[in-house]
Symmetry: D2
Subunit: 296 residues, 4 copies
């Protein structure tokens, strides 16, 4: 099977490499020349422009930074959708607005093309290891068509619903992640301000009703968990700016339907403050420090 | 050992009964006559006033509704602290402000009395079954003195730190519980507003980074979990008004130290709205419905 | 001068009538037939489709419900921008996202067309009376071209900055209006919950540092101000759903630039709750009742 | 008339001086020796302890930092309330919780004493100039008794309601002030992030529905208003820490009655963050800078 892969960034390149390893013929494109070289070194076929990857493609995988890149790749006067053969399957693994995913899918369907949205959960390490989770929107048939490709790049393929549902599910999960990251930080800082030991408090909450994945696996307070980004100066992990992007998508998804997200909005604004204060590249759990009370 | 038990309400009565069962001599007091009768029927010694329970008491357990009840029992012109023999141990299992706990403990220490704060986690069913969790503030020695009594009423005794730390730990946990309850509701409602199935979305989040105790064990959306209050019309469980009380204590604890709790405050105000709308007696997970988007 | 007017709704029709009264030749279009008849009765020339209004137009005024209507009118495969003669001036008085305004203006500029964004402040009564305020984005020269047309429909023409700045200024003002409406309601309800008379409290705040236009001219509490919507069952005025739309635009504008809007977001979610509770058609000051504390 | 004045701090000293100037016999106490000297130099009679001021006092004015100081002065084992002659009038101008005001007034009434709460609006400059505003809680008769004293220190005496209502009115006004300060900052920063000139935007909002006292008289953005603290490096004015204290009192007042204050709580947490970041001594309008978006 011939696969076109567009967008060979920090996530896209290891994903495309895993497709090559799985035996697919993969043509790839990215604006960055060094990245194309790395892709070639891994056995992929680099192309000079996005359109060149599409020749004879059975499946196109896109991994782009934001909604506008997906829109301008496929839609509008210079869009490439009409270059695809009917029956081609589009898998968009970018994290974008559900509305845009539906808009592209609708234009694709009009040309006899299938499309699923399949944003990922997991960072660059998971992309390398092929252990990503895909949250997929599309029909069951489309999902089955996409499955062999997705399973070559990831460990889990979760069917969220119809087209756009993958994006919505990711936005919901990551909004909740942001809420719990900020909320756990507030709880620990509140305890610290009253003299409690954050490790003791984490242990207590961890066996109580406030227990959650963040506190157990990603504790934002330095000294509580050796394996968390907080133990290594908040390097690696999931950057504040990416969290802010995802919370922005969640808030926009809420605006689209009139949904009510006061707690999610409060979290979004905390990460916006943290980013504005220059911490956008640090792991998002560093928001813990934004929430420290006065010590005097 | 002689125990005085003051406050035989929904929680206090079954706790006191478990002390009787464990072989302690227990004198009890409550303002309600029927409750005193039930206490007598269980083998306790009912008293006509709080002061009468204190005669020859080695340990006093209090389980009162709010800070002001604890203050007026022990402090001020009519306070009973001076009626206790030096060396008596006070165990306050009421959920009150840490500041008040420290104030009472300080007055107690001046009279040669020991005190621990030991608020509970778990509802009336846990109180009956003797499976409560105690979050305890006090010195290690005080905790060891209290342990046999606490272990007769509960399953777990967690040492949070010095005096008041039990109250702070409970406030932190329950603030985070309220945040996650509201946040999980927002995430599910956001998904529903975009056409996702809340059961499917819960399953996806449950294996992702947003995973938490609430979603897995206490899912607020009807139809997702047979054992949750949402499956039985939000009866039983942890009432909205109790959640509101605990979030109020958390917010006041934050005011005391200048702590920063934007997400916790947003949650507190949601439960205040829900209570004001007449839903104070329902389980707090019914806040899910306050967060439903327009369906048109 | 020939004017094309597209969108003859509650606001557009009286605005177009004022252009006719001022002596302009006005061709108009709307999807609603009765509205076109009313426009004809007022001396305007009704057209069967939007394109027909554009013949020989020197200026086009658009007054449409949302971003997507403006986009689909002018842009894309079926967009009408290319039907306009170079030199034509577009005045968009719709309330839409600044990003969309800039996108349309950019496409217009490529065809030699001028465009200003000129959203209005003031309701249907101001539209009838010709006393609207326009917040305008564009170059000073474009603003001067638009001025005679705008001054035939309104009382004040405020220059906010370059293209899109009119939309941003309106979003900023209306976000602040929403914040102050909610905040004044909270302050009054807090006072009421402590037994204060809301009229007395309004008078005190009105001469203090919390003074604002809402409290003085638009008091949300019934019985405090005879001329406010609160005195007539929250009819007329500025509907909750319109406030929610504008707060949504403000939040999206914040997402676009990473701006920090915690207070604005809290307000947005209150109006979303109020709308979801079925109060979308009432004047937005009715949010006062959503914020009432328990009376028991 | 003999007046006792307890608490000669930044506000209390100039207030007491104005009483001396008005011809009252004023005995004063403060813990600070230099302050007592300054008081003596102004013609007051300094006392070695609070109790000494009370000899033959007809009226006692207190101006203390927080609730606990007022409580410990009057109540409890070492409280001085019983040292006053029946018929003495207490005027508490401290800014404290309404609940504490009512508690003290109730104890005072039991001893045949009158008490009004009379917190002030206006800073040290107003205290010097005798142009403070008093928000008073008490009966109309008590207010008339207090009026000559209050009018010697201030310009306006506003009757808010029964005992405690002065504190509630101040909390409500200052909560709204904090909301509008934060909200106006957000609106201006949102505009700036989209390229608008904050002076132009302030002018537009100032004639629109978002108009408020802060924007016109206290604009937080440097360069917009020569007379505001923002024009002089945020020196003088109303310190962030005092704003935080007042918002804390407002939030606690809401907790007392179950009132709903999501917007006020969001504002409170912003000032808590600003204080925690070390800006507590700056004028509160400097919160503007906490809300600046990324510029890159």
């Amino acid at each position: 099977m011939n696969i076109a892969f567009i967008g060979l960034g920090n996530m896209g390149l290891p994903m495309a490499r895993n497709l090559v390893k799985a035996g697919f013929q993969v043509k790839g494109f990215d604006l960055s020349a060094p990245v194309l070289e790395a892709f070639a070194a891994a056995g992929g076929t680099p192309c000079a422009c996005a359109a060149d990857t599409l020749q004879s493609a059975d499946v196109v995988v896109t991994m782009l930074p934001a909604s506008r890149h997906v829109q301008s790749l496929w839609l509008g006067a210079s869009g490439l959708l009409h270059r695809l053969r009917p029956g081609t399957l589009l898998i968009d693994s970018s994290t974008i607005g559900a509305t845009v995913a539906r808009e592209v899918a609708s234009a694709a369907a009009a040309l006899g093309l299938d499309m699923v949205d399949a944003p990922v959960s997991g960072g660059t390490a998971s992309a390398e290891a092929g252990t990503l989770t895909f949250m997929v929107g599309g029909t069951p048939e489309q999902l089955e068509r996409a499955r062999p490709v997705l399973e070559s790049m990831g460990q889990r393929v979760l069917h969220a619903g119809g087209i756009g549902a993958g994006q919505v599910a990711k936005a919901c999960n990551n909004m909740l992640l942001g809420i719990i990251m900020a909320g756990s930080s507030e709880a620990l800082q509140l305890g610290i301000s009253h003299g409690l030991d954050p490790k003791v408090l984490s242990d207590i909450i961890g066996v109580s009703t406030g227990a959650n994945w963040v506190l157990t696996n990603y504790n934002p307070c330095p000294g509580t968990l050796d394996t968390a980004p907080s133990a290594r100066g908040y390097s690696g992990g999931f950057a504040t700016d990416l969290m802010l992007k995802d919370l922005g998508l969640a808030v926009e998804a809420a605006t689209d339907t009139g949904a009510i997200v006061p707690v999610g909005s409060a979290a979004r604004n905390l990460f916006a403050m943290h980013s504005a204060a220059g911490q956008g590249k640090l792991d998002c759990s560093s928001v813990f420090h934004l929430l420290a009370a006065r010590t005097s």
